[in-house]
Symmetry: C2
Subunit: 495 residues, 2 copies
């Protein structure tokens, strides 16, 4: 990673979320917040983030950075290579903060502001080197949501915008570069338009908070998680395209949308109604859940939606997949010199919730999966890389034998060791053992017979010489290892 730490100004829900995202991505963080409760509050957000990130990806996260909480902005900013501000939404306060911080920061340090509504041109007014300020507007929870709206002010330099985007991208976010400064930027505009209409619906007694939420999450909200309103409407327009859609639905849409343009007054009565309905909604949809539990539910659902979209390589799923690739790439650099003198510690991952079946522990088929993944990594170790696969050659599993010895549960950290039992030009026999990371105990074993196949020729074939050489190199050591008790077993039952 880069040198220097991340300086954070403000440690509320948003600032705490930034702290979590930066820390879990291996950055050291120095956070300024005058609130004596800040360490507790930030700690809670980080705990949420650790929990969610374990589920988000099994890619190798870097070693977590260190967190220091300080009581002056200057301490946080001095020596930082990137600063993110998440102070309360008051222009005068932010102007003062940026002015003070800009005096102690290096000349080329980028300042991102988390403001959801204030204009960068106004916030940068009193800064030394105002060209360093850019809006980087994130969404809650910051440690999971990909979107960050990047918007410069009149004095902001192009390189500041690019460097901010690069930083956000490196921690798994999707920077959306806005070309025009506007109150509320884009996403908040859309959210507030919808929210205003929702408040009218409550105000007029048309629908309750719960009904409005249901109208979203069982309906258009499902689609909006991967395609925005324009693409959805274009598809609805069919082959004839967007113009056809506008011609067909423009006039019809105009009829309801010319109503209810005023802003509902937030009277005590309306506020009472909203709060009562909100309470009733929680009681019905998520009975007995605390805010902490609701946060966990929200995070779990976000993870699921992103995982689902990752399967399609689309929208936020592509952001996640690209980010995971960078984690793997960084991890591979570390794994370059693997110790092959003993059983090779070839693979590790934690048990995700969805691996657990109705018995409450990991489903048997997942041990085939995790040892198959280990086999894949072993193949990569001996030289089956992207180019080799492109040539049409690979090893296929032809036979597997598993022994299920103990149980594992959601969240358990597992690692897999691999022992090469034998090999010839066309085959290798590998014995893998799944261990629990906390006590190295054995959970399951699996041996696999792998056959080298030339898919273009449609038959088995000898592996390339360099692969055979690598196998021989490993066998020098592994031939000396004791034979595992479960190797070479057959399933049989004596009567």
């Amino acid at each position: 990673m880069t040198t220097g730490h991340i300086g954070l100004l403000g440690g509320g829900v948003i600032g705490g979320g930034w702290a979590a995202r930066f820390l879990l991505n291996g950055h050291d963080v120095v956070l300024f917040d005058p609130d004596p409760e800040a360490p507790r509050k930030v700690g809670e957000v980080i705990a949420n983030a650790r929990r969610a990130n374990t589920k988000l990806t099994n890619a190798p996260w870097p070693v977590e950075g260190s967190l220091q909480i300080v009581t002056t902005a200057e301490e946080a900013v001095e020596g930082a290579h990137f600063v993110q501000e998440s102070a309360p939404e008051r222009l005068d306060l932010k102007q003062k903060l940026f002015a003070a911080a800009s005096r102690v920061a290096g000349d080329d340090v980028v300042f991102g502001s988390s403001t959801s509504g204030l204009l960068p041109t106004e916030m940068q007014r009193d800064m030394v080197h105002p060209e360093r300020l850019v809006v980087g507007h994130p969404f809650n929870p910051v440690y999971l949501m990909p979107l960050v709206e990047v918007c410069g002010g009149a004095a902001t330099s192009e390189s500041t915008k690019q460097r901010a985007a690069e930083m956000y991208r490196s921690i798994g976010m999707h920077p959306l570069m806005l070309s025009k400064e506007i109150d509320g930027f884009v996403a908040d505009r859309l959210m507030e338009a919808l929210w205003r209409e929702a408040l009218w619906l409550v105000n007029d007694g048309v629908a309750t908070a719960a009904e409005i939420d249901d109208a979203m999450r069982f309906g258009p909200g499902l689609r909006w998680s991967f395609m925005g309103t324009f693409l959805i409407y274009r598809i609805a327009g069919g082959e004839a395209g967007m113009r056809h859609f506008m011609a067909q639905f423009g006039p019809a849409l105009k009829w309801p949308w010319t109503k209810l343009m005023d802003v509902p007054e937030l009277t005590d009565e309306l506020l009472d109604m909203i709060c009562a309905q909100s309470d009733a909604q929680v009681d019905e949809q998520t009975p007995g859940m605390s805010i902490r539990e609701l946060e966990a539910l929200r995070d779990d659902c976000l993870v699921e939606v992103m995982h689902g979209l990752r399967n399609r390589g689309f929208a936020a799923g592509k952001t996640l997949a690209d980010f995971e690739q960078t984690l793997f790439d960084r991890g591979n650099l570390v794994a370059a010199d693997v110790d092959v003198t003993g059983p090779i510690r070839i693979h590790q991952r934690s048990v995700p919730n969805e691996w657990v079946d109705y018995n409450g522990h990991t489903n048997d088929s997942r041990y085939m999966q995790i040892t198959s993944e280990a086999g894949d990594k072993f193949m990569r170790l001996i030289g089956v890389d992207e180019a080799y696969l492109q040539s049409g050659c690979s090893y296929y599993t032809v036979e597997s034998h598993l022994n299920f010895i103990a149980q594992s549960h959601a969240g358990d950290h597992l690692y897999v060791t691999a022992q090469l039992m034998s090999h010839d030009p066309k085959r290798f026999h590998i014995f893998t053992t799944v261990h629990r990371a906390d006590d190295d105990s054995v959970v399951a074993t699996a041996e696999h017979m792998m056959l080298h196949v030339d898919a273009r020729a449609g038959k088995s074939s000898p592996a390339a010489a360099q692969l055979q050489a690598k196998l021989a190199e490993i066998a020098v050591h592994h031939d000396l290892l004791p034979r595992p008790a479960q190797a070479g077993r057959a399933i049989a039952q004596s009567r």
Copy 2:
């Protein structure tokens, strides 16, 4: 299912979507559409639906219903037990259609209207028995989207609303019961408020269609797929609750939301800009994709999001899980008398996309999974039911041996046969074979040794007498079967 068919009035994108949903749920459908192109158009929607539904669930769908397309409304409605109207959005046309249809339908037939904006009180005006009409407003694609807004008019009876909701629920939808008639109902109100703001942003050159869509799908849209705007804001408000959120953000929100209240004029210039931006968006995000491919991408993403949420049993994922349960329940009734005289055809499913690995065929671990699922069904067959599991007893897999013989690919239909090799009070040894359904060829085999465990005692234990009796009953037949070639093998390599 119920007797009689479903009468559909209108076969456009929405009517075709209804046809698909009803057909795939085993209903016979008679559809009225005067368009000579209707059979082709409806056929295309049904093809999309079949494709999507295969991915949506592996639960046993009923046998598909039959489709008949007719050229008069009367033919579609006569003998129907439920009618759904999806004609163009013109009040006079719908009034005439309902009046005519109501004269030939049985007195107690429910009429649902797919209108997204017209009021039921006006649509039911000229009907015989107007109490039978209710709005059932679905969302595109109808065969996947759970939401249907149910809204009665002044004359609509309560039982009509309940019967419509029951019908929609039985085909996997989430009926949202609206208590107040309003133009555009709830979801369209929200969509249009957002859409109006989006059009302003384009009109003012603040953001392009693609940027606006990105601001949704990488941001708030991700959250809206499972929690609506009220619950999301409540969580953001933290422990202090909704009133705190309103106090904190109400005034700040008011500032941008009091702007841009007018409706942008859909001038030629604005239309040109929207269409050009829409083209550019497709070129960039989904280069070269046809509308048909975009539909498939949309459907795949919807399936993924619903699958993801199903893992949490929340929002649309709960709707899906509940629906699958009803499919399983119906399927179990059919499976009650299984033929155990030969290898038992115990399990079937199609290969979903995510089972396919980088080699382009089904990942080896999925054969462990599908045969493990078969083992589960075998356990259910011999009497391991919910009550038995609740008692803390079950069979655990202790050893498995797999042979990978051929390959399967996404969309392939597979079925699994099971042969009981041996059993004693504590164990049974089962040999399973995975077949391709189209030619019965063998793709893989897997044998499993199952051990009966009393989880409360924390050790193995004899199975209940009725389970042992069922195993013995199967063994009478299976002891006579030839021993499979792959049974009892050990993995070994001769040098």
